[in-house]
């Protein structure tokens, strides 16, 4: 490429196109999601291994816990919908609408976390702790890691919403945050199925 070409087209013409034609920020988030999925996968497989092979397993969830988990799942799936609204509004340049959706997502995330902590407190009250049984060890490890992701997500949503409202961050940041939030929702589908629903006390 000649110097005149460089002057006309800039150095951008020398850059290779991204293999997936997506911004580097988004690609990085996808790579993070893949690695995080493997982490959760390993934990859930270990849980499945122990759950199927253990002779005596505690099944602590009854009516109230089941209702709590249904509400938690409803809240988290709904938060994914509001996140979609935030990304769409940000892409369309509707800043106030995007911020409203971001705060709605944050509120739903915080509600999910508080319901989760309430569930934990209820289990602690029944002497089911991290060290009480195999169930306690696996349950608190897996749900604890997921809860950590939700709380981190809520904090990140707050940072993104503030930055976006001050025009320091762009729609691309909101979109990348959306990927993370949907991933947290997606992981919950497996956590709730394996860790909660296989441990419901069914009357025989």
């Amino acid at each position: 490429m000649s110097e005149s070409d460089l002057a006309m087209h800039g150095h951008g013409a020398l850059m290779e196109e991204s293999p997936y034609a997506i911004p580097s920020r988004k690609l990085t988030m996808w790579l993070f999601i893949i690695s995080d999925a493997v982490t959760f996968g390993a934990l859930l497989f270990a849980y499945g291994f122990i759950r199927v092979s253990a002779a005596n397993w505690v099944r602590p969830f009854e009516g109230a816990s089941l209702i709590n988990v249904i509400i938690m799942t409803f809240v988290l799936i709904t938060s994914s919908l509001t996140m979609l609204g935030a990304v769409d509004a940000a892409k369309a340049g509707d800043q106030s609408k995007a911020i409203r959706f971001l705060y709605s997502t944050m509120t739903l995330g915080a509600l999910f976390a508080s319901l989760h902590i309430r569930e934990w407190a209820e289990l602690f009250g029944r002497n089911i702790t991290l060290s009480s049984s195999l169930f306690g060890q696996t349950f608190f490890t897996i749900t604890g890691l997921h809860l950590l992701h939700v709380i981190s997500g809520v904090l990140a949503l707050f940072v993104i919403a503030r930055g976006y409202s001050r025009s320091k961050l762009t729609a691309s940041h909101v979109e990348t945050m959306g990927l993370y939030w949907h991933f947290v929702d997606l992981v919950w589908m497996f956590v709730v199925s394996l860790v909660y629903l296989t441990n419901i006390a069914v009357a025989h």
Binding site: Y20, A21, G48, V52, L84, A92, H182
Partner: protein
Amino acid sequence: MSPASGNVIRKYLPVYFVLLAIFLVEVFLSVQHFATGTLVVILLLLAACSAGLGLMYFMHLADERRELFLTLIPVTIFVLLMMNMIWSDSVRLLHMRPPVQ
């Protein structure tokens, strides 16, 4: 503002309701009398369906370039292979387990 703005919630509402429906089916199945192994397999399959919907529509993987989608396949195969190894081992352990006193 793009004309599509505001319609996205309406556009993805069917996916949202399908996800909720799959979850309610899971809840219903979990209170039925299934063997633990069977229940785990059924719930895993339903969770995989939910995750697939989330990936394709909420995370817009369906709209991304095919290379990104194809990159995820080796990872998925690896995870499934690992899963196969662990599950079969756990079933074997069930038969090797000493009788409960």
